[in-house]
Symmetry: C2
Subunit: 352 residues, 2 copies
């Protein structure tokens, strides 16, 4: 089990482990309103597809708490919850877990209010229960994926990962790093290589910290070193998370993942994606339909607030890229592993 929990619901509000100041500082923010939660998601105080899904669900619990405190009518609460869901959903377009979690939450309200007008405290209780269930199920899914995925890792493997798909990106165990955690429990001779993952450096800032906290050996590399590492025979498997997996198995993930998958292919190194149900978007046929978030130029032009390039230049900063299904060896889910390159049927069977 990881000791890191990025999103927790308390009586005072939602606690977020501030991922913008790690690893230098371990600090928590207490979020009390859905607006503050939207800001926290947008500025990546909380990030990682499953974690922002949970954070979004908690955002609606905060919305309901405020409504109860103001003693709003059931009708007004429903309107407010829908507005806040839209606000939260608009923060980050690529990861589908956020819209999935918000839909799950609104479905609870729909169910409660369809044929009756419940007490508003009942709405709050049920939303709280649902949000806690989303968190608990995410951790359980991660642990199941960990067990399933660990069996795919060769003895003593060098395992390369990109960005942070760890406890910090989820309810508290990790998708890709969940597999690594489970593999390490069985075989302490594995070794992790972490892509630093420019521009936001989640690999350097978050993955090395999270693994070091758990005593799992990790070596940091820049994003351009994967070919050199594989040529040197140091990598036996690549594993990443995903922000959205289309019905055909194309997977959007942090920018740089597609390059890594191409490099792995060239070296015949298996490339795995670990992701729970909430990341799967069967309504999106292929990766071409996945909306890619473009983020502000400063993420590329500055590091720690200091400019690293000339003035007056252009910047291209997509937050994500799409790895086509044919580059993915297998998708590890909590219901089983689907092997590529044909994912449509396998994913459909698990989740339809």
């Amino acid at each position: 089990m990881s000791k890191v929990f990025p999103v927790t619901l308390t009586q005072q509000g939602a606690w977020l482990l501030d991922q913008t100041v790690l690893p230098g500082k371990v600090a928590y923010q207490t979020i009390k309103t859905p607006e503050a939660m939207a800001d926290a998601i947008r500025t990546m105080v909380v990030r990682g597809a499953p974690a922002i899904g949970i954070a979004g669900a908690f955002g609606l619990v905060l919305s309901a708490r405020l409504a109860v405190a103001e003693n709003l009518s059931v009708e007004s609460i429903v309107i407010k919850l829908r507005e806040d869901a839209e606000l939260l959903n608009a923060t980050r377009p690529t990861a589908v877990n956020l819209s999935w979690a918000l839909r799950e939450m609104l479905a609870v309200v729909d169910e409660l209010t369809r044929n009756s007008s419940p007490d508003i405290s009942v709405i709050l209780d049920q939303l709280t229960e649902k949000a806690e269930a989303i968190l608990a199920e995410d951790i359980a899914a991660n642990q199941t994926m960990g067990k399933l995925g660990a069996a795919l890792m060769p003895k003593g493997a060098g395992i390369l990962t990109h960005c942070n798909a760890g406890a910090l990106a989820t309810g508290g165990y990790g998708t890709a790093l969940g597999v690594i955690r489970a593999a390490f429990e069985q075989d302490s001779t594995i070794h992790v290589y972490a892509d630093e993952t420019r521009p936001r450096l989640q690999g350097a800032r978050l993955t090395t910290w999270e693994l070091a906290e758990d005593g799992i050996p990790v070596t940091l590399v820049t994003d351009g070193m994967s070919g050199s590492l594989m040529k040197a025979g140091k990598v036996q498997a690549v594993i990443t998370g995903a922000d959205r997996i289309a019905a055909n198995g194309d997977a959007a993930n942090k920018i740089g993942t597609y390059n890594l998958a191409l490099v792995a292919k060239a070296h015949n190194v298996p490339f795995y994606v670990a992701a729970p149900r909430s990341t799967l978007d069967l309504s999106t046929a292929s990766g071409d339909e996945i909306p890619i978030e473009f983020r502000e130029e400063e993420e590329v032009t500055t590091v720690n607030g200091e400019r690293i390039c000339a003035e007056g230049i252009g910047v291209y900063n997509p937050g994500f890229d799409v790895t086509p299904a044919e580059l993915i060896t297998g998708i590890i889910t909590e219901r089983g592993i689907v092997n590529g390159p044909e994912y449509q049927v396998g994913l459909g069977k698990l989740y339809n």
Copy 2:
């Protein structure tokens, strides 16, 4: 013509444009001893394969100046020059231009002292002339490569480059950026994409600055974005420099180049290498024999002196990787373009 000259010989010493503080500061260091030159090369005040070759040659001029000032015997001067050549040569193992230039300089001394004992001022004069010739020939070679390479760039092309193979990396025009300069003179609708090139960020710090100074439009990307860029159809050619090209066409260049070549191959984007004679090492059969320099961990673990990762982790930091000949569409030299994938005969014809 570029307005940037990284290495200049003056009466006061060798002037180096300090590349460790660009683009924030444009400052020069005056180097007066071969020891100081070795330090400047090691710490990358001057960097880029052709530029460190020129800097090495200037280092031996400084050595000869000191010997003349001390009125050493011819015999002592020859010993001192050989020692200083070894000192300079040991600074950076991968780029072959440095050892090439030092050999060229020592050959002048050998020639002068083989059958006679010349005045020591003659040795200094001849070494100075040779070093200035190495500089002048490098600029001329760059300009020729520029013309030849520009003809390969499609009208309105998006051209992606890695690291800095520009005026800053050479005598003053550039290998890859020389081609881009020449292409831009003929077609102002081309657009350059610059990989930031972690860990030292030469693309961000140097390439964007150098191109912006010349008014050539440039967009900065992180090293993981090349696949996304190519998928979006924004790149019609990739061009890089090289630090050493083996007889079979395998090319060592800044870490991340190999990844970029794999990504270009997957998108059928041509991948060119521009390099002068001094970069070619016909005595090295293939890339497997090229020594790769590993550099200090701090290049990866810190940016602007601030730590970006957890404590107590491993770091892998090769300064270079090798792009195999089969991924290189063509090698642009000052004597002509050699097309791949079979380079052995073509390179041999040009230079044997």
